[in-house]
Amino acid sequence: MLDVQNLSVDFRVDSGWIRSVSDVSFALPANSTLGIVGESGSGKSVTALSILRLHAARTTRMSGKIMFDGNDLLAMPERRLRDLRGRDIAMIFQDPMHSLNPVLTIGDQIGETLRIHQGLSATEARNRAVELLDMVRIPDAKSRVTEFPHRLSGGMRQRVMIAMAIACRPRLLIADEPTTALDVTVQAQILELLRELRQEIGMSVILISHDLGLVAEFSERVIVMYAGELVEDAPARTVFDTPQHPYSEGLLRAIPSPDEDVSRLYAIPGRIPDPGNRPPGCNFAPRCALAEPACHAAPPPLEAFAPGHFIRCPVRMKTTEPAE
């Protein structure tokens, strides 16, 4: 359904163009879940925003193809793309307060999508908004529909955002750090809700997060990004149980466990390179314990490590046998 091919994104800065996302490819079948993990600056959000072409056109350069149902979203005229946004592909963000209009009731905001895309009347849109609030398990939806966003808790606001996103029954929902600003118990509730809605509506979900545990639990497939590149692409359990790229491995080891005591946490040494100042070879080589001279010389390709499992690490490719 969605097929991203060789996507690169450059942004204009004072000194010229810098590459934010570099040659990223992945595919997402209908009715499936994909997780994108990486730290700040890894390019995960930039990749997601590119799918809906939400970058400022004048300061962004994109190349590659983003095929959605056989049409290239990057080549599509803005008018046609506008019909698609919110109807076929919807998006929710980290901070629901900044995504909601503080002077409109939540009913008006949910109804807006429906009036634009489905031409519903004000009353029809209002009734549908109540149904949608029910769907996202907001108690007492009928009276809540006239509330303003500031009256709702963070968790409730994110539910409203989800109600808006699913109003037109999109086939793809992109959720960019949807639970990062929320408490753990509310986070669990929101993920549960997304899981249930996915079944009810039959949509695909791309979940973007810095939390590998969260992504691995939610998604069928996971891609790990580092410094604008895809470094590992595999089924979620594989990335979680037997990650092959040294960065994925480090990321996983660095997460403290709630289930055991350790005297010292594992930390990946160093830090992610600046986009304008990436090393000539593998981006991760300066921080990598496995790095060989060749790693510092030329950027490694993404290769198939096992069927359905891709890594960008020549060292692991030659030293490790895929587990049975």
């Binding site: 700040s40 118990t185 969260l214 639990e217 997460i255 930390a267």
Partner: protein, 325 residues
């Protein structure tokens, strides 16, 4: 695990309560009780982890402990000085140099127009009495302590990543050799790889300098990594306090259980449905247990009578009717 007797406690908190006025006058005055009757101790060299969701009162407690916010009632003793009540202000000024605070957002905690050396030396400058050379030597020493190069002293905060900025904030906190540091979501804004580096740094400093921490966080895995004991807060009250191993391995309070079950665990496969609802409005506390409306194990008594925090095994206290005889 350290033996927790009050003799070794450098910090003693008793019946600490904090109200905020939220509007109205006279009889119509509305008061929000953010912290309600909280008591605990922190021993020398110990880390007390404080977990809870937004609105649980964890930051309010942290702020009261370092004197940034006065208590409404209750008592705080720091290093033998009572900083609450009459004479509290004077007592606070005597111990203030031993207290420090590290906040969540290192960017907001630094003046962007000050050089790193001036940021770090701020507590020294406030205290006064240092020669220029001693001051600069101390800045270099502190930069090295937190794992940054001395050349960074002349740079400005914007030249650093989030993890490095948090190290600068920690260097500043250490400037006057504190004994007790409140870390309020100190690693929450950092990526996992940076987070691990900063946590390791905090733990090394504790070993080296015998620091005590009050470590406030919503991330239970992070809290487990750094703490000696953990207090679980709900709606401004401690619902469970226990040594970390006991708390994580055999959680007693239904809310502690709910928090631990809410952590994503991909290896676990099927998960429990998450606890329903959200933290109640603190303006209208329910008459019984505050968790009651969300609690899967609530019974009649919970709706009418608030449970008291009581010791159910050595070192562990729980506020729940399930554990009363």
């Amino acid at each position: 695990m350290k033996d927790m007797t009050t003799d070794t406690a450098i910090i003693q908190v008793r019946n600490l309560t904090r109200d905020f006025d939220v509007g109205g006058k006279g009889r119509g005055k509305r008061v929000l009780r953010a912290v309600n009757d909280v008591s605990f101790d922190v021993a020398q060299g110990e880390t007390l982890g404080v977990v809870g969701e937004s609105g649980s009162g964890k930051s309010t407690i942290g702020r009261m402990l370092v004197g940034l916010l006065p208590a409404t009632s209750g008592r705080i003793d720091l290093f033998g000085e009572t900083i609450t009540g009459d004479g509290g202000r004077r007592a606070l000024s005597r111990v203030r140099h031993k207290l420090q605070f590290v906040f969540q957002d290192p960017h907001a905690a630094m003046n962007p127009r000050m050089r790193v050396s001036d940021v770090i030396a701020e507590p020294i400058d406030v205290r006064g009495g240092w020669s220029r050379k001693d001051r600069m030597d101390r800045v270099h020493e502190l930069l090295e302590t937190v794992g940054l190069a001395r050349q960074f002293a002349d740079r400005y905060p914007h030249e650093f990543s989030g993890g490095q900025r948090q190290r600068i904030v920690i260097a500043r906190a250490l400037a006057l050799d504190p004994s007790f540091v409140v870390c309020d979501e100190a690693v929450a804004a950092l990526d996992v790889s940076m987070q691990a580096q900063v946590i390791n740094l905090l733990m090394d400093l504790q070993d080296k300098m015998g620091l005590s921490y009050l470590f406030i966080a919503h991330d239970l895995a992070v809290v487990r990594a750094v703490s000696t004991r953990i207090a679980v807060l709900y709606a401004g009250e401690i619902v469970e306090i226990a040594p970390k191993r006991a708390l994580y391995e055999v959680p007693k309070h239904p809310y502690t259980k709910a928090l631990l079950e809410a952590i994503p665990r991909p290896e676990a496969g099927v998960r429990q449905p998450p606890i329903r609802g959200e933290v109640p409005s603190l303006l209208n506390r329910p008459p019984g247990c505050t968790l009651c409306p969300r609690c899967p194990r609530a019974f009649d008594r919970c709706r009418v009578e608030a449970p008291k925090l009581r010791e159910i095994e050595p070192g562990r206290s729980v506020a729940c009717h399930l554990y009363e005889d």
